[in-house]
């Protein structure tokens, strides 16, 4: 189930280069799984902007977004105390019943959905290993937050300015029985080449509605056409056509 609601902005702070964290207060009851997303209405923009749920606890919703265009630029200027019109409860989210020793891989702004996922897995005693991949040191965020959840956290940077030099695949642990990932396409391709278990990928697509009505976000899978917004954004490794 999804729902439109008004959320109050509690904070909106820069946490890394071009990356902002926004904490909102409102009715979060429709957010039921990590990996779901919300769709945000911005003044003067026609379409809403889809952003993953980073954390959700009681009536507080946390999102992390990167400024890449006009909409996210505008979001970064939203003031504390103002109100945003948000659709919540969108997308299927990750299925967390699949593993005992999961590997979580977040790249860039693919990191945020890993946080709530990690939290849930830790709560379930599933002992996640987390790899956070960035290009360079000043892009890094949330390393400490993941550690505080009690996860085994590894950070990679492409230029080696922090953590392991290289791609997320250069920090793969020896043991994992399943993986969850969100991030850019090149990272997905590298994971696809290296990963030895089943897993779940979270995809992005330009969206019209975000709740399954317009067929704007369709993709072909081995089991037929799926809507990224409603049947996804999370697809299991076995169904994906690369």
């Amino acid at each position: 189930m999804y729902k439109q609601g008004l959320f109050e902005v509690l904070s909106n702070d820069k946490i890394a280069k071009d990356v902002f964290k926004m904490v909102l207060k409102g009715d979060t009851q429709y957010i039921t799984a990590p990996g779901q997303f919300v769709n945000i209405k911005l003044d003067g923009k026609f379409l809403r902007r889809p952003i993953s749920v980073c954390d959700c606890e009681d009536d507080k919703l946390t999102i992390i977004y990167k400024v890449v265009g006009e909409g996210t630029e505008q979001m970064s200027a939203v003031e504390t105390g103002s109100t945003l019109d948000i659709l919540t409860g969108l997308g299927n989210g990750y299925d967390i019943t699949k593993s005992k020793k999961p590997l979580l891989i977040g790249g860039g702004v693919g990191v945020p959905p890993m946080y709530l996922l990690c939290k849930k897995l830790v709560e379930n005693g599933q002992n996640p290993t987390v790899i956070l991949g960035f290009n360079t040191e000043d892009e890094i965020f949330y390393e400490e937050e993941f550690r505080l959840l009690g996860a085994d956290v590894r950070v990679t940077t492409v230029d080696g300015s922090y953590g392991t030099k290289g791609f997320v695949t250069d920090a793969f642990p020896d043991e994992y029985d399943y993986f969850y990932t969100c991030g850019p396409m090149p990272m997905f391709r590298a994971i696809e080449a290296k990963a030895v278990t089943s897993g779940q990928y979270s995809f992005e697509e330009r969206m019209g509605c975000g709740f399954g009505a317009c067929m704007g976000c369709s993709c072909k899978t081995k089991y037929g056409s799926k809507r990224i917004c409603k049947d996804g954004p999370v697809l299991v490794r076995e169904e994906i056509i690369w």
Partner: protein, 303 residues
Amino acid sequence: MVDLSVNLAGMEMDNPIVPASGTFGFGKEFKDFYDINILGSFSFKGTTKDARFGNPTPRIAECSSGMINAVGLQNPGVEHVVKYELPEMKEYFNKKVIANVSGFSVEDYAYTCRILDKEEQVGILEVNVSCPNVHGGGMSFGTSPECAAEVTRAVKAVTTKPVFIKLSPNVTDIVSIAKACEDAGADGICLINTMLGMRVDIKRRKPVIANTMGGFSGSAIFPVAVRMVYQVAKACNIPVMGCGGVSSAKDVIEMMMAGATAVQVGAANLVDPYVCKNIIEALPIECEKLGINKISDIIGVID
């Protein structure tokens, strides 16, 4: 109490509000937001003879006061619609529905309409002639009076249900096309479909839409829609279903004054899933402010 009911080519409607084809799926996604039985009716996703995946993604681009889509008529095909979608729909929508039909040849249209003609749930056949005519050099059926009339005749021959022809605005002379449809037996005209538009991603130096161009809709196109509804309603003697950029009760009233008997709401559903509900609730209030007791009184009041 303001009387919102209208009679659309014989179909009695509680109010003139009709979500437009392609923006409401088969209604399923919206019933989670509100009880869609409050609608006048709705036009379901453009249905073709065979199932279609549609165009590659990205299919969506943002514009000032609007959006571009290049979904490319993704739909499960008419057999599937009749076998699965319509029976399922019965469980959450108890009114007559409008069946939006697309095709790439005259035979396609006739084939699909013949099947839908047997469906009791279907109140009106809405024939979208904005699709490219594969036997006619790829120009859409809706760009020539002759082609539009040919489709109209072919469809009228296979159904006893009212047939609305849904016209494309990307033409020099909308009136001549509407009249050709009327002369060919159409029971009504629906307009407008999307305008052909394009956006460029200046970072990637590529069109935003994988298919380069797409259908532009949303509030931005409202003035063009009002103009065409006005022109066609003045020139024809069959009812007009207005569509294009409607997002408020005032827009509905404006389009009805311009000549529309019913009014479709498209892209606005995608950004505000409650928009049709809000319009239906606001209509009596706006009508009262304007001294309108019976909404059907204002249809085409503009000289």
